[in-house]
Symmetry: C2
Subunit: 201 residues, 2 copies
């Protein structure tokens, strides 16, 4: 005999499909929603139904844009330097870099990282479009800002090789100690990379 009403069980199953949400968290969210008022539920439900129709991808950079917009303001803005391109895996990486307020170039979202095991091959990523952009916009520097993971590293290497025949400087984000971390608590890989990438003062 099921102890929970069917509507609640359905909701728990649906919420459990969000990334990183286990059965307990799903129960917690579902119970919270059950106690919320119907207006709030409708707002959440509408925002879920409407998200896909309200969002489009920039045809140049593959950043997220308002639907109906062709090119992201992060590209069309004349203040952005089109000859410097930061290459990232996912659209939210753009957000992270924008928050630094330290980058005034443009972005190129690959749409993922190479991972043959998960079936992600080079032609599923926006690499051809990047090569085309480098030619069209006479890009001077491509900054590889993929994640610091095996997939991110593989992707960076692949993109670097694709760009090699072109006359463009290719750089990578520095790897080393993150801010606020004690040396003794840094892991070996991080510390090795910090040593390798040491800079003269």
């Amino acid at each position: 005999m099921s102890v929970l009403p069917k509507a609640l069980e359905t909701l728990i199953v649906e919420l459990g499909q969000l990334p990183g949400v286990g059965p307990r968290s799903a129960e917690r969210y579902a119970y919270h929603l059950l106690k919320s008022d119907q207006n709030k539920l409708s707002r959440l439900a509408d925002s879920i139904s409407d998200v896909k129709s309200g969002v489009a991808f920039c045809s140049k950079t593959f950043c997220l844009v308002e639907s109906g917009t062709d090119v992201s303001p992060l590209y069309s803005d004349p203040a952005r330097d089109k000859t410097v391109v930061a290459v990232v895996e996912d659209p939210f990486d753009v957000l992270a870099l924008e928050k630094t307020a330290n980058f005034h170039g443009t972005y190129h979202v690959l749409g993922g990282a190479l991972s043959p095991l998960d079936g992600v091959t080079p032609d599923q990523l926006h690499i051809k479009e990047l090569v085309q952009r480098v030619k069209d916009d006479k890009v001077k520097e491509v900054i590889l800002a993929t994640n610091s993971s095996v997939e991110g590293d593989t992707t960076a290497l692949f993109v670097q090789k694709e760009l090699a025949p072109l006359d463009v400087k290719v750089t990578r984000l520095a790897r080393g100690l993150p801010a606020g971390v004690d040396l003794e608590y840094a892991d070996q890989i991080t510390l090795s990379r910090a040593l390798e990438g040491r800079q003269s003062l």
Copy 2:
């Protein structure tokens, strides 16, 4: 200038109101939803909109029931012993106790725990209804199964006092070492309670 499309920002704000979901988790959920297909989004949206209308509260035990059902099968089932009542704070606590498959009495959901600071007073909990049930059903034992927290303890004490004039045995869930925990890692309060509640073999 906002970097994210409005529809996505709205969704992140709405998701961020779930309990324990911070801005980063909300972004992660929103991006996952954005990449899901529309059918899946509609199913989630519908299950959120419909949860309140599909769920009701049992008029006897205040457990969650299918809407249109008056009394929970956990109460109406003749196999359940109506003279033993486990008093819990929230409807999901019923689920946890049912999973043990070790309890064959009935439940009474208080609907929260006493917490004057949060404005939860005794008349907001289903305590009167419990007293009435104890009289009506000639209940022999009330098992206080509130949480092991300050609020849970306060609530248990209050319910115990309310039941004192009646001819009913009042018990509490045992407190002590949880299964699989090393003695050396148990906290002081747990260990003190395990000592206090020690049982002769």
